[in-house]
Symmetry: C2
Subunit: 233 residues, 2 copies
Amino acid sequence: MTGLDRTLIAGLETFRGLSEQALDRVLVHARSARHPKGSEIFSQGETAENFYLLLSGHIRVVRTSPEGHQVIARYINEGELFGIAVAMGRTSFPASAVAAVDCVALAWPNREWAELQTLFPAFGANAYQTIGARLQETQAQVMEMSTEQVEQRIAHALLRLVKQAGRKTADGIEIDFPITRQDIAEMTGTTLHTVSRLLSAWEQRGLVRSGRQKVVVTDAHGLMLVAEHRRRD
Amino acid sequence: MTGLDRTLIAGLETFRGLSEQALDRVLVHARSARHPKGSEIFSQGETAENFYLLLSGHIRVVRTSPEGHQVIARYINEGELFGIAVAMGRTSFPASAVAAVDCVALAWPNREWAELQTLFPAFGANAYQTIGARLQETQAQVMEMSTEQVEQRIAHALLRLVKQAGRKTADGIEIDFPITRQDIAEMTGTTLHTVSRLLSAWEQRGLVRSGRQKVVVTDAHGLMLVAEHRRRD
DNA sequence: GCGCGTGTTTGTCAAAGCGCAAACTCGCCT
DNA sequence: AGGCGAGTTTGCGCTTTGACAAACACGCGC
């Protein structure tokens, strides 16, 4: 017995509609592990043996091009599945997963995927919904990169981060994990220099406050106007 | 009886592993329709009532931004599923589908999705594999847009088109449907002007021959070098 | 408390590629 | 046959943003 308790995963979107017994069954082959900040949970190109669920923390999913350019494909939040190469019929991971902060994640051997899907159709449906949603998001990102200027893209990226991982503070909403200018650049397809310049400009205008690995959005509405490329009404 | 014959779909990747009886069952609720060149099979934002399979022709999947910018998300080839909003748990189409040439497509009512998936697990698996593959492609596109220059992006796009829909001709490989500079621009996030200039330059260098709504790649290897941003060895 | 490294700011410069504009050229329709 | 319109080519100026460089600052670890 691993000691994993069903309350770990009860209430998660992914397992919605599953009975207590079902949750127990789900956990039978799950293994929990701690991943210190900065460590790789899995690595691009590596053979996929497991799929994962993030219990706590934040994870960066990073793709590296043959020439060494890095792109941050997404951030994984608590409660989300990740590394589900198996669901896409892949045998290797198309990206790496790096812990943005200390994380705890569950891992299941890939063979459990088919198993759980058969036993609990609701689980399969939820999981594929997740993939569908990610396809949508990614296509939206392509759209954004095609049609928007760097300033709008960065504004949109910040707003998305704030929505996904925002934490209210005294003077605004702070992104809940350490994030560098370089990270933001890799999310938006630009350079850390440009990000730095824009954040500085926004700080002047009172839209954000930012520091070392930290961004606080102080005027979300104002930033929204920037994202839509309009001046404040 | 609709007269749809199982040979229409036998041999397609999507239905691999299905028996003849299964194929017959699949077709029971399918309706075949012809879509003249330029017509919309479905429209962005519209409630999704059906999902589709392209029997013949080529389809452009187009997303339009609120500001009216268009982006071509992908081209659908013969034998591929499209408009599978239902598989992603969506109730409306996130993009429009336009016939690039005269097309014939099968349509199933959405309720058949769950049905077929239950009856024929192999069908479900193939379908979700398709979505997974598209997510991969789309993420690769984001990567490309983040790290490559316009010239490389266009070269890559052409090579992809040639691979998906190339037809050998006397002097090279021709893209098998009418495609404008504007279309290529909308695939790569640039302008028709830039595309035109580059195609002209490439024509000088003997890499392509192009004309009105037509592109022939005459030196795929040379174009590959352009795509990788290297001069010919 | 100090030093060092990582992350950030800021400046200058260059150029990719976009916007605008105008001319041109096929094909097709009448 | 001729005209029309969609699609294409090309020129030019200019903005955005990347590249390079250098200085700076914060915070951690010793």
